[in-house]
């Protein structure tokens, strides 16, 4: 079946520009997560959506970062006024819900480069 998809796969942007990253989770998965991973580093949790509950935004590094999930499916991560330290691979994952929450299915990621 279809897995998690993300677009674009690569994004190069100039410092100060805004970017939008998109995630399509696996159909039927109620939980959606955003992480980022810098070169050679571990995962950094950004935000978590579960159904209609208020998202857990505790991992967003600054107020330049925001995310929304429309209709309980597609999610968009927006980074305003990008900075060079925002360069990383942004990963989206989905899972069936809080039960088995560590069984997350990741997309291929969006590689963001801020020049």
């Amino acid at each position: 079946g279809a897995g998690v998809s993300q677009s674009p796969s690569n994004k190069v942007t100039e410092k100060g520009k805004d970017v939008e990253l998109r995630c399509d989770p696996i159909s039927g998965h109620t939980a959606l997560y955003w992480y980022r991973q810098s070169l050679g580093q571990g995962l950094e949790f950004l935000i978590y959506f579960q159904g209609n509950s208020a998202p857990d935004k505790s991992g967003l590094p600054s107020d330049r970062f925001s995310a929304e999930r429309t209709g309980g499916s597609v999610s968009t991560l927006t980074i305003q006024r990008t900075q060079q330290e925002d360069s990383a691979v942004y990963l989206c994952a989905s899972s069936p819900g809080l039960v088995r929450s560590y069984e997350q299915y990741f997309g291929p990621g969006t590689r963001l480069t801020v020049t």
């Binding site: 571990g42 990963l91 994952a93």
Partner: protein, 111 residues
Amino acid sequence: LAKTTQPISMDSYEGQEVNITCSHNNIATNDYITWYQQFPSQGPRFIIQGYKTKVTNEVASLFIPADRKSSTLSLPRVSLSDTAVYYCLVGPVDSSYKLIFGSGTRLLVRP
């Protein structure tokens, strides 16, 4: 998440069985053990999850002794395509969801 310790790297040859052990001395009663695989330039891939004894799926087996202070991921007959970083995570799967990867084990499969 409980602290985990894994070997930094392992080498193997095609066709061999590879066993990667993860130590988690402070595992809690409601913690599960989960393994992920990550190839370069790709997102992590869920491999297997277990609570006790043995779990097997089409990809791997997970062996967990009675005291649950360690676990072993077993990859049967590895191929070159199994070269990746393998991460062990320990935590409650019904109340937590932030995956935190340690340094993982970098497995290199040689011809």
